[in-house]
Amino acid sequence: MRTIRHDAVIIGGGPAGLAAAAELDRLGVHDVLVIEREKQPGGILRQCIHEGFGLARYGEALSGPEYAQRLIDELTSRGMKVMTDTTVLSLSQDRALTVVSREGIARIEAGAVILAMGCRERTRGALAIPGERPAGVYTAGVAQAYMNLYNRMIGRRAVILGSGDIGMIMARRLTLEGAQVEGVYEIMDTPSGLPRNISQCLDDYGIPLNLSHTITEIHGGARVTGVTVSAVDAQLKPVPGTQRYIPCDTVILSVGLIPENELSLEAGIALDPRTRGALVDEHLQTGCPGVFAAGNVLHVHDLADDASLEAEAAARSAAAYLRGELPCCGVSVVCGAGVRYALPQRVSGGQDVPLALRVSRAMGPCSIVLRQAGREIGRKRVIRALPAEMIHVTLKADQIGGCEEIEVSAE
Protein backbone atom coordinates (compact mmCIF):
# COMPACT_ATOMS: atom_id res chain seq x y z
CA MET A 1 0.00 0.00 0.00
CA ARG A 2 1.19 3.50 -0.84
CA THR A 3 2.07 5.60 2.19
CA ILE A 4 2.12 9.38 2.01
CA ARG A 5 2.72 11.94 4.72
CA HIS A 6 1.22 15.40 5.21
CA ASP A 7 1.62 17.95 7.97
CA ALA A 8 -2.14 18.37 8.24
CA VAL A 9 -5.00 16.29 6.93
CA ILE A 10 -8.59 17.57 6.95
CA ILE A 11 -11.37 15.02 6.64
CA GLY A 12 -14.31 16.64 4.82
CA GLY A 13 -14.45 19.42 2.22
CA GLY A 14 -17.54 21.35 3.35
CA PRO A 15 -17.85 24.77 5.00
CA ALA A 16 -15.68 23.66 7.94
CA GLY A 17 -12.98 21.68 6.13
CA LEU A 18 -12.41 24.22 3.36
CA ALA A 19 -12.18 27.12 5.81
CA ALA A 20 -9.72 25.17 7.99
CA ALA A 21 -7.50 24.43 4.99
CA ALA A 22 -7.19 28.09 3.98
CA GLU A 23 -6.49 29.13 7.56
CA LEU A 24 -3.69 26.55 7.91
CA ASP A 25 -2.06 27.82 4.73
CA ARG A 26 -2.42 31.40 5.97
CA LEU A 27 -0.57 30.36 9.14
CA GLY A 28 2.34 28.87 7.23
CA VAL A 29 1.26 25.23 7.27
CA HIS A 30 1.39 24.62 3.53
CA ASP A 31 1.46 20.83 3.39
CA VAL A 32 -2.30 20.37 3.84
CA LEU A 33 -4.51 17.65 2.38
CA VAL A 34 -8.31 18.01 2.30
CA ILE A 35 -10.13 14.74 1.66
CA GLU A 36 -13.69 14.87 0.29
CA ARG A 37 -15.98 11.88 -0.31
CA GLU A 38 -18.08 13.56 -3.03
CA LYS A 39 -16.94 14.35 -6.57
CA GLN A 40 -16.91 18.09 -5.81
CA PRO A 41 -15.96 20.06 -2.73
CA GLY A 42 -18.55 22.17 -0.93
CA GLY A 43 -20.43 19.63 1.16
CA ILE A 44 -24.06 20.35 1.92
CA LEU A 45 -23.69 23.92 0.61
CA ARG A 46 -23.97 22.58 -2.94
CA GLN A 47 -27.65 21.78 -2.49
CA CYS A 48 -28.52 24.76 -0.26
CA ILE A 49 -29.52 27.07 -3.10
CA HIS A 50 -31.35 29.52 -0.82
CA GLU A 51 -29.59 32.69 0.24
CA GLY A 52 -28.55 33.78 3.71
CA PHE A 53 -25.04 32.34 3.87
CA GLY A 54 -21.98 34.50 4.41
CA LEU A 55 -23.53 37.28 6.49
CA ALA A 56 -20.98 36.80 9.26
CA ARG A 57 -17.90 36.08 7.13
CA TYR A 58 -18.47 38.15 4.02
CA GLY A 59 -21.05 40.71 5.14
CA GLU A 60 -23.45 39.81 2.34
CA ALA A 61 -26.20 37.28 1.77
CA LEU A 62 -24.98 34.54 -0.55
CA SER A 63 -26.54 31.29 -1.69
CA GLY A 64 -24.92 28.05 -0.52
CA PRO A 65 -23.16 27.37 -3.85
CA GLU A 66 -21.77 30.93 -3.88
CA TYR A 67 -20.53 30.61 -0.30
CA ALA A 68 -18.84 27.30 -1.17
CA GLN A 69 -17.26 28.88 -4.26
CA ARG A 70 -15.73 31.67 -2.15
CA LEU A 71 -14.04 29.03 -0.01
CA ILE A 72 -12.93 27.00 -3.04
CA ASP A 73 -11.59 30.12 -4.79
CA GLU A 74 -9.59 30.95 -1.68
CA LEU A 75 -7.94 27.51 -1.79
CA THR A 76 -7.33 27.77 -5.53
CA SER A 77 -5.66 31.16 -5.14
CA ARG A 78 -3.36 29.57 -2.58
CA GLY A 79 -2.51 26.75 -4.97
CA MET A 80 -4.29 24.23 -2.74
CA LYS A 81 -6.43 21.35 -3.96
CA VAL A 82 -9.07 19.11 -2.49
CA MET A 83 -8.70 15.35 -2.97
CA THR A 84 -12.26 14.53 -4.07
CA ASP A 85 -14.02 11.22 -4.70
CA THR A 86 -11.96 9.80 -1.85
CA THR A 87 -13.30 8.15 1.27
CA VAL A 88 -11.49 7.79 4.56
CA LEU A 89 -11.97 4.22 5.74
CA SER A 90 -10.21 4.47 9.07
CA LEU A 91 -8.35 6.75 11.41
CA SER A 92 -6.01 5.58 14.15
CA GLN A 93 -4.86 7.07 17.46
CA ASP A 94 -1.46 7.86 15.91
CA ARG A 95 -3.14 9.84 13.11
CA ALA A 96 -2.73 7.31 10.33
CA LEU A 97 -5.58 7.21 7.82
CA THR A 98 -6.60 4.58 5.32
CA VAL A 99 -8.24 6.14 2.28
CA VAL A 100 -9.76 4.68 -0.85
CA SER A 101 -10.22 6.33 -4.25
CA ARG A 102 -10.07 5.35 -7.91
CA GLU A 103 -6.30 5.08 -7.53
CA GLY A 104 -6.78 2.38 -4.91
CA ILE A 105 -6.09 2.25 -1.22
CA ALA A 106 -3.47 4.45 0.40
CA ARG A 107 -2.16 5.06 3.89
CA ILE A 108 -1.72 8.66 4.94
CA GLU A 109 0.25 9.73 8.00
CA ALA A 110 -0.70 13.13 9.35
CA GLY A 111 1.10 15.49 11.70
CA ALA A 112 -2.33 16.81 12.72
CA VAL A 113 -5.86 15.87 11.72
CA ILE A 114 -8.95 18.08 11.62
CA LEU A 115 -12.23 16.22 11.67
CA ALA A 116 -14.76 18.11 9.51
CA MET A 117 -17.11 15.35 8.37
CA GLY A 118 -20.32 17.23 9.12
CA CYS A 119 -23.48 15.46 10.11
CA ARG A 120 -26.22 13.25 8.75
CA GLU A 121 -29.95 13.25 9.11
CA ARG A 122 -32.02 11.33 11.61
CA THR A 123 -34.28 8.96 9.66
CA ARG A 124 -37.70 7.41 10.00
CA GLY A 125 -36.15 4.27 11.48
CA ALA A 126 -34.81 6.30 14.40
CA LEU A 127 -38.33 7.58 15.13
CA ALA A 128 -40.19 4.29 14.80
CA ILE A 129 -43.29 5.84 13.18
CA PRO A 130 -45.88 3.07 12.85
CA GLY A 131 -47.62 2.35 9.58
CA GLU A 132 -46.89 1.10 6.11
CA ARG A 133 -43.56 1.41 4.33
CA PRO A 134 -44.51 3.22 1.12
CA ALA A 135 -42.31 5.30 -1.16
CA GLY A 136 -42.55 9.05 -0.69
CA VAL A 137 -40.94 9.40 2.74
CA TYR A 138 -37.78 11.51 2.53
CA THR A 139 -35.44 13.19 4.93
CA ALA A 140 -35.36 16.92 4.21
CA GLY A 141 -31.79 16.90 2.93
CA VAL A 142 -32.47 14.03 0.54
CA ALA A 143 -35.56 15.84 -0.76
CA GLN A 144 -33.38 18.94 -1.16
CA ALA A 145 -30.75 17.03 -3.14
CA TYR A 146 -33.41 15.49 -5.46
CA MET A 147 -34.99 18.86 -6.18
CA ASN A 148 -31.97 21.15 -6.27
CA LEU A 149 -29.26 18.93 -7.73
CA TYR A 150 -31.05 16.26 -9.76
CA ASN A 151 -34.17 18.09 -11.03
CA ARG A 152 -36.57 15.54 -9.56
CA MET A 153 -39.89 16.78 -8.21
CA ILE A 154 -40.57 14.67 -5.17
CA GLY A 155 -44.35 15.02 -4.78
CA ARG A 156 -47.42 17.23 -5.10
CA ARG A 157 -48.85 17.28 -1.60
CA ALA A 158 -46.50 17.11 1.37
CA VAL A 159 -46.62 16.91 5.13
CA ILE A 160 -43.47 17.87 7.01
CA LEU A 161 -42.57 16.23 10.29
CA GLY A 162 -40.24 18.27 12.48
CA SER A 163 -39.52 21.99 12.40
CA GLY A 164 -35.81 21.83 11.62
CA ASP A 165 -34.46 24.57 9.35
CA ILE A 166 -34.01 22.32 6.33
CA GLY A 167 -37.60 21.07 6.64
CA MET A 168 -38.91 24.62 6.67
CA ILE A 169 -36.68 25.61 3.77
CA MET A 170 -38.03 22.61 1.84
CA ALA A 171 -41.60 23.63 2.69
CA ARG A 172 -40.93 26.91 0.90
CA ARG A 173 -39.08 25.23 -1.94
CA LEU A 174 -41.94 22.78 -2.58
CA THR A 175 -44.48 25.62 -2.50
CA LEU A 176 -42.44 27.67 -4.98
CA GLU A 177 -42.35 24.66 -7.29
CA GLY A 178 -46.13 24.36 -7.20
CA ALA A 179 -46.62 21.63 -4.60
CA GLN A 180 -49.02 21.98 -1.71
CA VAL A 181 -47.54 21.76 1.78
CA GLU A 182 -50.24 20.77 4.26
CA GLY A 183 -48.34 21.78 7.32
CA VAL A 184 -45.35 21.27 9.58
CA TYR A 185 -45.89 19.04 12.62
CA GLU A 186 -43.47 19.42 15.55
CA ILE A 187 -43.66 17.10 18.55
CA MET A 188 -42.02 19.62 20.91
CA ASP A 189 -43.79 22.74 22.13
CA THR A 190 -41.09 24.99 20.61
CA PRO A 191 -39.83 25.06 17.03
CA SER A 192 -36.42 23.50 16.42
CA GLY A 193 -35.51 25.88 13.59
CA LEU A 194 -34.69 29.58 13.53
CA PRO A 195 -37.45 32.22 13.96
CA ARG A 196 -36.52 33.87 10.65
CA ASN A 197 -37.20 30.61 8.82
CA ILE A 198 -40.62 30.29 10.44
CA SER A 199 -41.31 33.79 9.15
CA GLN A 200 -39.88 33.61 5.64
CA CYS A 201 -40.49 29.93 4.84
CA LEU A 202 -43.80 29.16 6.55
CA ASP A 203 -45.68 32.38 7.39
CA ASP A 204 -44.94 33.93 3.98
CA TYR A 205 -46.68 31.02 2.26
CA GLY A 206 -49.46 30.42 4.77
CA ILE A 207 -48.04 27.04 5.83
CA PRO A 208 -49.28 26.17 9.33
CA LEU A 209 -46.79 25.18 12.04
CA ASN A 210 -48.48 22.77 14.45
CA LEU A 211 -46.51 22.48 17.70
CA SER A 212 -47.02 19.55 20.09
CA HIS A 213 -48.20 17.39 17.20
CA THR A 214 -46.67 14.37 15.53
CA ILE A 215 -47.33 11.82 12.81
CA THR A 216 -48.70 8.69 14.44
CA GLU A 217 -49.17 6.63 11.29
CA ILE A 218 -48.04 6.69 7.68
CA HIS A 219 -50.52 5.18 5.19
CA GLY A 220 -50.03 3.87 1.66
CA GLY A 221 -49.15 0.81 -0.37
CA ALA A 222 -46.61 1.55 -3.09
CA ARG A 223 -46.71 5.32 -2.43
CA VAL A 224 -47.75 7.42 0.56
CA THR A 225 -51.50 8.16 0.47
CA GLY A 226 -51.78 10.02 3.75
CA VAL A 227 -50.71 10.36 7.35
CA THR A 228 -52.46 10.37 10.69
CA VAL A 229 -51.38 13.23 12.94
CA SER A 230 -52.14 13.53 16.64
CA ALA A 231 -51.64 16.08 19.36
CA VAL A 232 -49.17 15.03 22.07
CA ASP A 233 -49.25 15.68 25.81
CA ALA A 234 -46.48 17.07 28.01
CA GLN A 235 -44.84 13.60 28.04
CA LEU A 236 -44.89 13.67 24.21
CA LYS A 237 -47.43 10.83 24.15
CA PRO A 238 -50.19 11.03 21.52
CA VAL A 239 -53.51 12.18 23.01
CA PRO A 240 -56.27 9.67 22.18
CA GLY A 241 -59.12 11.18 20.19
CA THR A 242 -57.01 13.89 18.54
CA GLN A 243 -56.11 11.83 15.46
CA ARG A 244 -56.66 13.50 12.12
CA TYR A 245 -56.13 11.98 8.68
CA ILE A 246 -54.33 14.13 6.11
CA PRO A 247 -54.16 12.97 2.51
CA CYS A 248 -50.68 13.49 1.00
CA ASP A 249 -48.21 11.78 -1.32
CA THR A 250 -45.04 12.91 0.41
CA VAL A 251 -43.70 12.99 3.95
CA ILE A 252 -40.58 15.02 4.70
CA LEU A 253 -38.66 14.38 7.91
CA SER A 254 -36.75 17.25 9.47
CA VAL A 255 -36.18 15.69 12.84
CA GLY A 256 -32.61 16.37 13.70
CA LEU A 257 -29.03 16.06 12.60
CA ILE A 258 -26.45 13.72 14.07
CA PRO A 259 -22.71 14.44 13.89
CA GLU A 260 -21.07 11.87 11.63
CA ASN A 261 -18.55 10.34 14.02
CA GLU A 262 -18.04 6.75 12.86
CA LEU A 263 -14.36 7.46 12.13
CA SER A 264 -13.89 9.24 15.47
CA LEU A 265 -15.38 6.33 17.40
CA GLU A 266 -13.17 3.87 15.59
CA ALA A 267 -10.15 5.97 16.53
CA GLY A 268 -11.21 5.66 20.17
CA ILE A 269 -12.15 9.34 20.47
CA ALA A 270 -14.57 9.94 23.34
CA LEU A 271 -17.85 11.63 22.42
CA ASP A 272 -20.13 13.86 24.46
CA PRO A 273 -23.54 12.14 24.69
CA ARG A 274 -25.19 15.58 24.63
CA THR A 275 -23.62 16.92 21.42
CA ARG A 276 -22.85 13.50 19.92
CA GLY A 277 -19.58 15.09 18.83
CA ALA A 278 -16.12 14.71 20.32
CA LEU A 279 -15.28 15.96 23.79
CA VAL A 280 -12.85 18.81 23.12
CA ASP A 281 -10.67 21.23 25.00
CA GLU A 282 -10.36 24.95 24.28
CA HIS A 283 -8.12 24.15 21.31
CA LEU A 284 -10.95 22.04 19.86
CA GLN A 285 -8.58 19.13 20.35
CA THR A 286 -10.27 15.79 20.93
CA GLY A 287 -9.12 13.24 23.49
CA CYS A 288 -6.68 12.02 20.85
CA PRO A 289 -3.63 14.34 20.73
CA GLY A 290 -3.23 16.13 17.41
CA VAL A 291 -6.79 15.35 16.31
CA PHE A 292 -9.10 18.39 16.23
CA ALA A 293 -12.79 18.68 15.42
CA ALA A 294 -14.89 21.55 14.08
CA GLY A 295 -18.17 22.29 12.37
CA ASN A 296 -21.18 20.00 12.40
CA VAL A 297 -19.13 16.92 13.26
CA LEU A 298 -18.40 18.55 16.61
CA HIS A 299 -21.88 19.93 17.31
CA VAL A 300 -24.72 20.86 14.98
CA HIS A 301 -24.53 24.55 14.09
CA ASP A 302 -27.31 26.91 13.05
CA LEU A 303 -25.14 28.61 10.44
CA ALA A 304 -22.50 27.56 7.94
CA ASP A 305 -20.61 30.75 8.80
CA ASP A 306 -20.23 29.57 12.39
CA ALA A 307 -19.01 26.15 11.26
CA SER A 308 -16.35 27.85 9.12
CA LEU A 309 -15.28 30.20 11.91
CA GLU A 310 -14.98 27.31 14.35
CA ALA A 311 -12.91 25.39 11.80
CA GLU A 312 -10.53 28.32 11.47
CA ALA A 313 -10.06 28.22 15.23
CA ALA A 314 -9.33 24.48 15.00
CA ALA A 315 -6.80 25.23 12.24
CA ARG A 316 -5.02 27.75 14.47
CA SER A 317 -4.82 25.09 17.18
CA ALA A 318 -3.56 22.48 14.74
CA ALA A 319 -0.83 24.88 13.58
CA ALA A 320 0.18 25.52 17.19
CA TYR A 321 0.17 21.76 17.86
CA LEU A 322 2.53 21.21 14.94
CA ARG A 323 4.85 23.78 16.54
CA GLY A 324 4.50 21.93 19.86
CA GLU A 325 2.77 24.79 21.66
CA LEU A 326 -0.57 23.62 23.03
CA PRO A 327 -1.00 24.11 26.79
CA CYS A 328 -2.91 21.37 28.56
CA CYS A 329 -6.46 21.93 29.72
CA GLY A 330 -7.30 20.80 33.24
CA VAL A 331 -10.49 22.73 34.03
CA SER A 332 -13.79 21.06 33.18
CA VAL A 333 -16.82 22.94 31.86
CA VAL A 334 -20.10 21.34 32.89
CA CYS A 335 -23.78 22.05 32.21
CA GLY A 336 -25.93 23.45 34.99
CA ALA A 337 -29.64 24.25 35.08
CA GLY A 338 -31.31 24.99 31.76
CA VAL A 339 -28.27 24.22 29.60
CA ARG A 340 -28.38 21.27 27.22
CA TYR A 341 -24.73 21.42 26.27
CA ALA A 342 -21.73 23.70 26.46
CA LEU A 343 -18.53 23.43 24.50
CA PRO A 344 -15.53 23.14 24.84
CA GLN A 345 -15.74 20.74 27.75
CA ARG A 346 -12.22 21.53 29.07
CA VAL A 347 -10.25 24.77 29.29
CA SER A 348 -6.75 25.75 30.41
CA GLY A 349 -7.57 28.94 32.26
CA GLY A 350 -4.68 30.55 30.40
CA GLN A 351 -6.68 32.41 27.75
CA ASP A 352 -10.16 33.75 27.05
CA VAL A 353 -12.33 31.05 25.50
CA PRO A 354 -15.49 31.46 23.42
CA LEU A 355 -18.09 29.03 24.77
CA ALA A 356 -20.90 27.76 22.53
CA LEU A 357 -24.02 26.47 24.23
CA ARG A 358 -27.67 25.63 23.79
CA VAL A 359 -30.41 25.93 26.36
CA SER A 360 -32.66 22.95 27.05
CA ARG A 361 -35.95 24.85 26.78
CA ALA A 362 -37.24 28.18 25.54
CA MET A 363 -36.77 31.09 27.94
CA GLY A 364 -37.54 34.80 27.68
CA PRO A 365 -35.05 37.41 28.86
CA CYS A 366 -32.48 35.56 30.96
CA SER A 367 -28.80 35.33 31.81
CA ILE A 368 -26.18 32.78 30.93
CA VAL A 369 -24.15 32.49 34.11
CA LEU A 370 -20.69 30.97 34.56
CA ARG A 371 -19.71 29.85 38.04
CA GLN A 372 -16.64 28.25 39.52
CA ALA A 373 -16.91 26.74 43.02
CA GLY A 374 -20.10 28.75 43.53
CA ARG A 375 -18.46 32.04 42.54
CA GLU A 376 -19.87 33.91 39.54
CA ILE A 377 -17.13 34.39 36.95
CA GLY A 378 -19.17 35.54 33.98
CA ARG A 379 -22.65 36.55 32.93
CA LYS A 380 -24.30 37.36 29.62
CA ARG A 381 -27.83 38.70 29.36
CA VAL A 382 -29.90 37.64 26.38
CA ILE A 383 -33.33 38.90 25.33
CA ARG A 384 -34.46 35.36 24.63
CA ALA A 385 -32.95 31.87 24.73
CA LEU A 386 -34.26 29.19 22.38
CA PRO A 387 -33.00 25.63 21.97
CA ALA A 388 -32.91 26.43 18.23
CA GLU A 389 -30.39 29.23 18.67
CA MET A 390 -26.80 28.60 19.67
CA ILE A 391 -25.57 31.10 22.26
CA HIS A 392 -21.98 32.32 22.45
CA VAL A 393 -20.42 33.63 25.64
CA THR A 394 -16.79 34.40 26.47
CA LEU A 395 -15.12 32.71 29.41
CA LYS A 396 -12.56 35.21 30.70
CA ALA A 397 -9.21 33.75 31.71
CA ASP A 398 -8.60 36.39 34.42
CA GLN A 399 -11.81 35.29 36.18
CA ILE A 400 -10.81 31.64 36.41
CA GLY A 401 -9.16 30.68 39.69
CA GLY A 402 -7.88 27.18 40.41
CA CYS A 403 -8.95 24.06 38.62
CA GLU A 404 -12.45 23.46 40.02
CA GLU A 405 -15.02 22.83 37.35
CA ILE A 406 -16.91 25.69 35.72
CA GLU A 407 -20.68 25.41 35.57
CA VAL A 408 -22.73 27.05 32.82
CA SER A 409 -26.39 27.69 33.56
CA ALA A 410 -29.34 29.66 32.16
CA GLU A 411 -31.44 31.47 34.74
Partner: protein, 123 residues
Protein backbone atom coordinates in the same frame (compact mmCIF):
# COMPACT_ATOMS: atom_id res chain seq x y z
CA UNK B 1 -52.12 49.49 16.83
CA UNK B 2 -49.04 47.33 17.24
CA UNK B 3 -47.64 44.81 14.82
CA UNK B 4 -45.00 42.23 15.70
CA UNK B 5 -42.49 41.06 13.05
CA UNK B 6 -39.64 38.59 12.96
CA UNK B 7 -36.73 40.23 11.17
CA UNK B 8 -35.37 38.05 8.35
CA UNK B 9 -32.31 40.16 7.54
CA UNK B 10 -29.90 38.05 9.57
CA UNK B 11 -29.98 34.90 11.73
CA UNK B 12 -30.50 36.92 14.91
CA UNK B 13 -34.16 37.03 13.89
CA UNK B 14 -35.02 39.97 16.15
CA UNK B 15 -38.64 40.34 17.19
CA UNK B 16 -39.53 43.87 16.14
CA UNK B 17 -42.62 45.66 17.40
CA UNK B 18 -43.98 48.40 15.18
CA UNK B 19 -46.42 50.98 16.47
CA UNK B 20 -48.77 52.04 13.70
CA UNK B 21 -51.00 55.11 13.44
CA UNK B 22 -54.61 54.97 12.22
CA UNK B 23 -53.42 55.07 8.57
CA UNK B 24 -51.17 52.07 9.09
CA UNK B 25 -47.99 54.17 8.96
CA UNK B 26 -45.09 53.37 11.29
CA UNK B 27 -44.74 55.84 14.15
CA UNK B 28 -42.31 53.90 16.35
CA UNK B 29 -40.18 50.75 16.22
CA UNK B 30 -38.61 48.73 19.00
CA UNK B 31 -36.72 45.44 19.31
CA UNK B 32 -34.40 45.70 16.31
CA UNK B 33 -30.73 45.21 17.19
CA UNK B 34 -29.51 47.16 14.15
CA UNK B 35 -30.60 49.84 11.65
CA UNK B 36 -31.03 47.21 8.92
CA UNK B 37 -33.71 45.60 11.05
CA UNK B 38 -35.54 48.90 11.38
CA UNK B 39 -35.33 49.43 7.63
CA UNK B 40 -36.66 45.91 7.11
CA UNK B 41 -39.63 46.54 9.42
CA UNK B 42 -40.57 49.79 7.65
CA UNK B 43 -40.28 48.12 4.26
CA UNK B 44 -42.24 45.10 5.45
CA UNK B 45 -45.13 47.24 6.61
CA UNK B 46 -45.17 49.53 3.57
CA UNK B 47 -44.37 47.07 0.81
CA UNK B 48 -42.98 43.65 1.71
CA UNK B 49 -40.09 42.56 -0.50
CA UNK B 50 -38.38 39.16 -0.74
CA UNK B 51 -35.35 37.54 -2.28
CA UNK B 52 -36.08 34.20 -3.85
CA UNK B 53 -33.78 31.41 -4.94
CA UNK B 54 -34.62 28.57 -7.28
CA UNK B 55 -33.09 26.71 -10.19
CA UNK B 56 -33.27 26.82 -13.98
CA UNK B 57 -33.02 23.93 -16.41
CA UNK B 58 -29.72 23.58 -18.25
CA UNK B 59 -29.47 21.93 -21.66
CA UNK B 60 -26.30 20.06 -22.57
CA UNK B 61 -24.78 20.57 -19.13
CA UNK B 62 -22.84 18.35 -16.77
CA UNK B 63 -25.75 18.87 -14.33
CA UNK B 64 -29.45 19.25 -15.20
CA UNK B 65 -29.99 22.43 -13.18
CA UNK B 66 -28.26 25.65 -12.34
CA UNK B 67 -29.13 27.34 -9.06
CA UNK B 68 -30.26 30.95 -9.38
CA UNK B 69 -31.18 33.90 -7.20
CA UNK B 70 -32.42 37.45 -7.61
CA UNK B 71 -30.02 40.40 -7.64
CA UNK B 72 -32.57 42.56 -5.78
CA UNK B 73 -35.62 41.80 -3.68
CA UNK B 74 -38.96 41.64 -5.48
CA UNK B 75 -42.43 42.51 -4.17
CA UNK B 76 -43.74 39.62 -2.10
CA UNK B 77 -46.94 39.50 -4.14
CA UNK B 78 -44.94 38.85 -7.34
CA UNK B 79 -43.12 35.74 -6.06
CA UNK B 80 -45.32 33.22 -7.82
CA UNK B 81 -45.25 35.11 -11.13
CA UNK B 82 -41.46 35.32 -10.96
CA UNK B 83 -41.34 31.59 -10.19
CA UNK B 84 -43.41 30.97 -13.37
CA UNK B 85 -40.81 32.90 -15.36
CA UNK B 86 -37.98 30.96 -13.71
CA UNK B 87 -39.71 27.62 -14.29
CA UNK B 88 -40.26 28.29 -17.97
CA UNK B 89 -36.65 29.40 -18.58
CA UNK B 90 -33.85 27.19 -19.74
CA UNK B 91 -30.25 27.95 -20.53
CA UNK B 92 -27.62 26.16 -22.63
CA UNK B 93 -24.37 25.04 -20.98
CA UNK B 94 -21.81 26.27 -20.15
CA UNK B 95 -23.11 28.60 -17.46
CA UNK B 96 -20.85 30.69 -15.24
CA UNK B 97 -21.76 31.78 -11.73
CA UNK B 98 -23.02 35.36 -11.99
CA UNK B 99 -24.40 34.98 -15.55
CA UNK B 100 -27.70 36.80 -16.02
CA UNK B 101 -30.29 34.14 -16.82
CA UNK B 102 -33.33 36.47 -16.99
CA UNK B 103 -32.65 40.21 -17.16
CA UNK B 104 -35.10 42.52 -15.37
CA UNK B 105 -37.58 39.74 -14.70
CA UNK B 106 -41.19 40.92 -15.32
CA UNK B 107 -39.87 44.49 -15.38
CA UNK B 108 -39.36 44.39 -11.62
CA UNK B 109 -35.82 45.76 -11.80
CA UNK B 110 -34.18 42.57 -10.56
CA UNK B 111 -32.15 40.06 -12.57
CA UNK B 112 -32.18 36.31 -12.13
CA UNK B 113 -28.52 35.24 -11.97
CA UNK B 114 -26.75 31.89 -11.80
CA UNK B 115 -25.17 31.08 -8.45
CA UNK B 116 -22.95 28.27 -9.67
CA UNK B 117 -21.12 27.29 -12.82
CA UNK B 118 -22.18 24.36 -14.98
CA UNK B 119 -19.76 22.92 -17.55
CA UNK B 120 -20.84 21.40 -20.81
CA UNK B 121 -21.57 17.72 -20.65
CA UNK B 122 -18.46 15.72 -21.53
CA UNK B 123 -18.97 13.97 -24.86
Amino acid sequence: MNRSLTCIVCPNGCTITAELDEHGAVCALSGAACPRGEAYARQEIERPMRMIASSVRVTGGAAPLVSVRMTKPIPKGEIMRVMEAIRSASVPAPVAAGDVIIADVLGLGSDVIATRSIDQKAV
